[in-house]
C-alpha cells in the first residue's frame, strides 16, 4: 500500500493523544504520584491538541472533503464511520472533565471521575476502531489479524504513557509509578509487534492461481493492458527494497521501544530530568512513525495478483 503521510501522522498523533488521556484519567483515579493540577491540565491540553491535529490531518487524504460530514451515518457497518462517531463523541466528555477539574480547583469529585471514565472508554473504542479499519479488510493479509487492533491500542497507550511521564517531570513531579506502567506497556507493545512481524512473514491466502482460477498450472502475467500507471498501481502497487524494510524494523524496536523503555527504567530508579524525558518522547514518536510507515509499506493488497504478483 502507498504510505500516505496524512494517515501515518493521524494514526500516530491521535493514538498518542488518546493514550495520554486514558493514562491521565487512570493515574488520577488511582492517585498516582505527580498527578497535580498542572500535570492534569497540560496532559489534557496536549492530548486534545494531538487528537485534533491527527483528525484534521486525516481529512487531508480525502479527495472530496466537502462530503466528510456524511461519514458519521454508517455506524452500523463501517469501522471508519464508528471511528468518526467515537472521535467526535470523545470531545464533550473530555472537555467537561477538564472543565470540572479547573472549576473544582483540582479537587476530586464523583461526577468528574465518572465523566473521566466515560471519556476513557470512548477513547479506547476510538483507538480500537482505528485498528479495526485496517483489521477488517480481508483483501490485505498483513492487516487482517487481531494483532492489528491490539498493536494500535498498545502502541497508543505506550506512547501516551511516555508523554505523561514527560509532563509529570516538566511539572516538577517524579512519576515513578506511571513510568513503571509505561515501561510495562512498552514491553507488551514490543512483544505484540514482534509477534505481528513474525505472523506476516508467513505467506498465506490467495495466489495468482486462485485470483485467475487456473489452479492446476503456472500462471504468468504477459501484459497488464495499460501503458501508464492506473489508480490501482498508484494506490496498491507500492513496493520497496525488502532489505530496507528489515533495517527499518530494527529502528522501530530501538527508537520506538527500547530507548523509551530504558528511560522509563531510569525514571523508575529515580534518575533523569525533564529534558531527557522530552528526548525519550520524541524518540518514541519517531520510532512509532517508522512503525506506521512500515505498516502501510508492507501491506500487499490482493489486486497485485492481477498485476503479476505470485502471492501477497
Amino acid at each position: 500500500m502507498h504510505p500516505a503521510f496524512s494517515v501515518i501522522f493521524f494514526t500516530v498523533a491521535s493514538g498518542a493523544g488518546y493514550g495520554l488521556f486514558i493514562l491521565m484519567v487512570l493515574a488520577r483515579l488511582f492517585n498516582a504520584e505527580g498527578m497535580n493540577g498542572g500535570t492534569m491540565l497540560s496532559a489534557g491540553i496536549l492530548a486534545l491538541v494531538l487528537i485534533s491535529a491527527g483528525l484534521l490531518s486525516s481529512t487531508f487524504h480525502l479527495a472530496n472533503p466537502k462530503n466528510a460530514w456524511r461519514a458519521f451515518f454508517r455506524f452500523r457497518t463501517s469501522w471508519l464511520s464508528r471511528e468518526g462517531v467515537f472521535a467526535v463523541l470523545f470531545y464533550p466528555f473530555a472537555l467537561l472533565y477538564l472543565l470540572l477539574l479547573w472549576v473544582l480547583d483540582n479537587q476530586d469529585s464523583t461526577l468528574m471521575n465518572t465523566i473521566g471514565v466515560l471519556a476513557l472508554l470512548i477513547a479506547l473504542a476510538t483507538v480500537f476502531s482505528t485498528g479495526m479499519i485496517y483489521g477488517c479488510l480481508k483483501t490485505i493479509r498483513q492487516w487482517h489479524t487481531a494483532l492489528t487492533p491490539a498493536n494500535y491500542l498498545l502502541i497508543g497507550l505506550a506512547t501516551g504513557g511516555v508523554l505523561l511521564v514527560m509532563l509529570i517531570m516538566m511539572n516538577g513531579g517524579r512519576g515513578s509509578s506511571v513510568a513503571w506502567l509505561a515501561g510495562a506497556l512498552l514491553l507488551i507493545a514490543a512483544i505484540t509487534k514482534a509477534v505481528y512481524y513474525f505472523w506476516i512473514s508467513k505467506v498465506i491466502g490467495p495466489t495468482i492461481n486462485t485470483a485467475t482460477g487456473f489452479t492446476r498450472a503456472q500462471v504468468r502475467l504477459l501484459d497488464t493492458g495499460h501503458t501508464a500507471g492506473t489508480f490501482l498501481t498508484d494506490e496498491f502497487g507500492y513496493q520497496t527494497d525488502p532489505k530496507q524494510l528489515e533495517s527499518l524494523k530494527y529502528m522501530v524496536f530501538i527508537f520506538g521501544f527500547f530507548l523509551p523503555a530504558c528511560f522509563m527504567a531510569a525514571v523508575f530508579a529515580g534518575a533523569g530530568g525533564w529534558g531527557s524525558a522530552l528526548l525519550a518522547a520524541l524518540c518514541m514518536l519517531g520510532g512509532i512513525g517508522v512503525e506506521r510507515w512500515l505498516f502501510f509499506a508492507e501491506a500487499r493488497h490482493v489486486v497485485n495478483l492481477y498485476h503479476g504478483a505470485r502471492h501477497t
Binding site: L62, N64, G205, D223, G225, H226
Partner: protein, 231 residues
C-alpha cells in the same frame, strides 16, 4: 433478481473493445465523466470500469494465452458497501447491482481497499470513486430495443465472450452457461461470493505431430541463411 456477467475465457481475443465501448457509453452516463488525465501526454491515464489483462497459463509446449477482462463482480457479500462510511456505496436489493452515489462519496478510497478485484477507481478530477454500473442507465431503458437493453461491453464484444443475465433464474442463458461449462468465481476463498463468473477454456483437440517429417538438410541450411542474412 441477481444480474451479472459471464465471461468466456475460451473465446475472448483480448481486443479491449469492451473496455473502449464501456468508456464511451459511461463517460456520458450516470457516473460519468470517466476523466482522462493528459490523454495526449507521455503518461496517459484515467478512469476505466473495465481492465483486460493477459496471462500465460501452463508451460511450453502446453501453454496458452488467456485474455482476462475484469470489471465489478457485483458481489453477494460486497465488503466495499459495508465499509463505506458515508453510505455512498450501495447494493440494490432488487437486482444486486452495486452502485456509488456520486453526490455522497467523500473520496476516502476505503471501498477500493476492500475490493479484491480492483473494480473501483478514484476519479482525481471529481474526487469521487467510480465503478462499473452494469450499464444501469441502459438495461432498464424502455426506449431501447429489447436486444439493446444489455451492458455496452456485452453488445460490443465481437467474439461473444460476454453474456449478461439473471443468475437467480436457473433457465437464463448465464445460468445455463455456468452449469454447462463449469463457470467459476475468482478468489472464492475470500468469501465475497462474486456474481460474475468465468468460463474456463474448452479442452482442445491436441494438434497431431506424428506425421510431421524431420526437415531435410537443404531446408535447414536455407532456413539458417534466411535468418542470418539481413535484408
Amino acid at each position: 433478481m441477481k444480474l451479472g456477467l459471464v465471461i468466456d475465457l475460451d473465446v475472448c481475443v483480448g481486443c479491449h473493445a469492451c473496455a473502449v465501448s464501456c468508456k464511451q457509453w459511461n463517460t456520458s452516463g450516470t457516473t460519468g465523466p470517466l476523466t482522462d488525465y493528459h490523454p495526449y501526454g507521455e503518461d496517459p491515464g484515467g478512469v476505466w470500469f473495465n481492465r483486460i489483462r493477459h496471462y500465460e497459463v501452463g508451460d511450453y509446449p502446453n501453454n496458452k494465452t488467456i485474455n482476462f477482462p475484469m470489471s465489478c463482480m457485483h458481489c453477494e457479500q460486497a465488503d466495499c458497501v459495508d465499509v463505506c462510511p458515508t453510505g455512498a456505496s450501495y447494493k440494490r436489493a432488487e437486482d444486486g447491482v452495486v452502485l456509488i452515489d456520486q453526490d455522497k462519496c467523500m473520496g476516502c478510497n476505503y471501498c477500493s481497499w476492500a475490493c479484491p478485484y480492483g473494480a473501483r477507481e478514484l476519479d482525481r478530477e471529481s474526487g469521487t470513486m467510480k465503478k462499473c454500473t452494469l450499464c444501469i442507465d441502459r438495461i432498464y431503458d424502455e426506449e431501447l430495443d429489447p436486444v439493446d437493453r444489455q451492458p455496452s461491453c456485452v453488445i460490443t464484444c465481437p467474439a461473444h465472450a460476454r453474456h449478461f443475465g439473471d443468475f437467480d433464474d436457473p433457465d437464463s442463458s448465464v445460468s445455463r452457461l455456468v452449469r454447462e461449462r463449469a463457470g467459476y468465481q475468482l478468489m472464492p476463498e475470500l468469501g465475497y461470493n462474486p456474481t460474475n463468473q468465468y468460463l474456463p477454456p474448452r479442452l482442445t483437440r491436441p494438434v497431431p505431430v506424428e506425421d510431421v517429417k524431420r526437415k531435410s538438410l537443404i531446408h535447414s541450411v536455407r532456413d539458417w541463411v534466411n535468418k542470418a542474412v539481413v535484408r
